[in-house]
């Protein structure tokens, strides 16, 4: 029994499909190999298990721990010390400079800097991270008031419509 030869369209479709599979596989492998470098920041828990080299600059991300923020003054420049936590571990952060508007306790932040020998983190830049919930102030107030949501705990279950 002889097989019917493939039509040209069919053959082009097969070639294209095969190329697509190879390409997707190659990119998938490359991305998974790169995943450590693609990550924008590391969390305090990751630092606890795998300490970064001292003096090497990296980004530390997490939530600002409640009650940990202290404004500081050094050489007339405003600064702050606070603690970045991810629920498990926490790292003390020293920062001299202006904090972004969104910075507050319970807020997600990403700090760029280096570890110091005493285990604290010296930040040269602090970025605020906001979450993907959007709602008017009144709705946020109402959710807080009836106790269904505390901003320091993270995002609410569902913003009221």
């Amino acid at each position: 029994m002889t097989r019917k030869p493939l039509s040209r369209k069919h053959r082009r479709l097969l070639i294209l499909g095969a190329c697509g599979l190879c390409l997707a596989g190659a990119v998938g492998l490359a991305l998974s190999a790169l995943s450590d470098n693609v990550t924008f920041f590391v969390s305090p828990s990751e630092i606890a298990t795998k300490a970064p080299a001292p003096g090497r600059s990296f980004r530390l991300g997490g939530l600002v721990e409640n009650g940990s923020v202290r404004k500081t003054q050094s050489d007339g420049k405003a600064g702050a010390t606070f603690r970045i936590t991810d629920g498990g571990a926490g790292v003390d952060v020293n920062f001299a400079g202006l904090l972004p508007d969104l910075f507050r306790e319970g807020q997600g932040v990403v700090a760029l800097g280096t570890m110091r020998p005493d285990g604290s983190f010296l930040a040269s830049e602090v970025l605020a991270k906001h979450d993907e919930t959007y709602m008017p102030k009144e709705v946020a107030e109402a959710l807080k008031k009836n106790g269904t949501w505390n901003p320091a705990d993270g995002k609410p279950a569902k913003p009221g419509g």
Binding site: K9, L13, G61, V110, V126, K137, K155, G160
Partner: protein, 246 residues
């Protein structure tokens, strides 16, 4: 292969008739929906609890981002139609989608930068979402250049179609970058599996603006494609006349 009806739309005359009827509707729909969506979003919708009025840039940023990805997906679809079925209109459509999609991508990056400075504290960071979106802009620019780079347009079409398909790998990377890696950019508000984490009075203007941008995008591409088809016809007629007079 069951694609018998595709060639009905490959007929440029058929396309001109159909698109001539469709274009005024697309134009009107795009203008009306964009005006309503942006007017509602920029002036009437409530300010956000943590970002206050800065949140309003979302009504331009998110539709532009959606169009940037959707436009590139359109390029990839055109590439498949061109490489497998040799659909002549698909090549011309790809040439016309490219610059419009690049414009949407540039708008997304610019508004994102304007939004990032007051909220995050930085105009630009090299996180996975922002970087993959910048790569998309370069893919668009490469496509625009490549499709016009050859004296023989067929060769340009072929090369650009291959680039469009290879570049399509970036689309899932953009979409899932905020889930696969730690990024400064927040995760998606609209998910396939859960209700959007957004107040209803903000969702509606955003959806209207996104619909308006999309239909407007369709109108611009349709108008450009009509112009390209007519231009090709005119060139054909002129060449035929020149040959007659020889």
């Amino acid at each position: 292969m069951a694609a018998p009806n595709l060639h009905r739309f490959a007929n440029p005359g058929q396309f001109l008739r159909l698109s001539g009827w469709l274009l005024p509707w697309l134009t009107a729909g795009g203008i009306v929906l964009t005006t309503v969506g942006l007017g509602w979003g920029l002036f009437l919708s409530p300010a956000d609890w943590q970002q206050s009025d800065a949140v309003r840039i979302i009504y331009i940023h998110v539709p532009a981002a959606w169009l940037a990805s959707a436009g590139y997906f359109g390029l990839a679809v055109c590439a498949v139609l061109s490489l497998i079925w040799r659909h002549p209109l698909a090549d011309m459509a790809a040439a016309e989608i490219g610059p419009v999609g690049a414009g949407a991508t540039a708008l997304c990056l610019a508004t994102g930068s304007l939004w990032g400075k007051p909220m995050w504290g930085a105009w630009w960071v090299w996180d996975a979402r922002l970087t993959s979106m910048l790569v998309l802009l370069f893919l668009y620019l490469g496509h625009i250049a490549l499709i016009r780079a050859f004296d023989n347009p067929e060769r340009g079409y072929r090369a650009a179609a291959i680039l469009a398909l290879i570049g399509a790998v970036d689309l899932p990377v953009i979409k899932f970058s905020v889930e696969w890696w730690n990024t400064l950019h927040q995760p998606a508000t609209f998910k396939f599996t859960a209700a959007p984490t957004m107040y209803q009075g903000m969702i509606w203007p955003l959806l209207l603006a996104a619909a308006g941008f999309s239909i407007g995008f369709g109108a611009i591409v349709t108008a450009r494609l009509r112009a390209a088809v007519m231009e090709r016809r005119i060139r054909g007629l002129m060449m035929a006349r020149a040959q007659e007079s020889v």
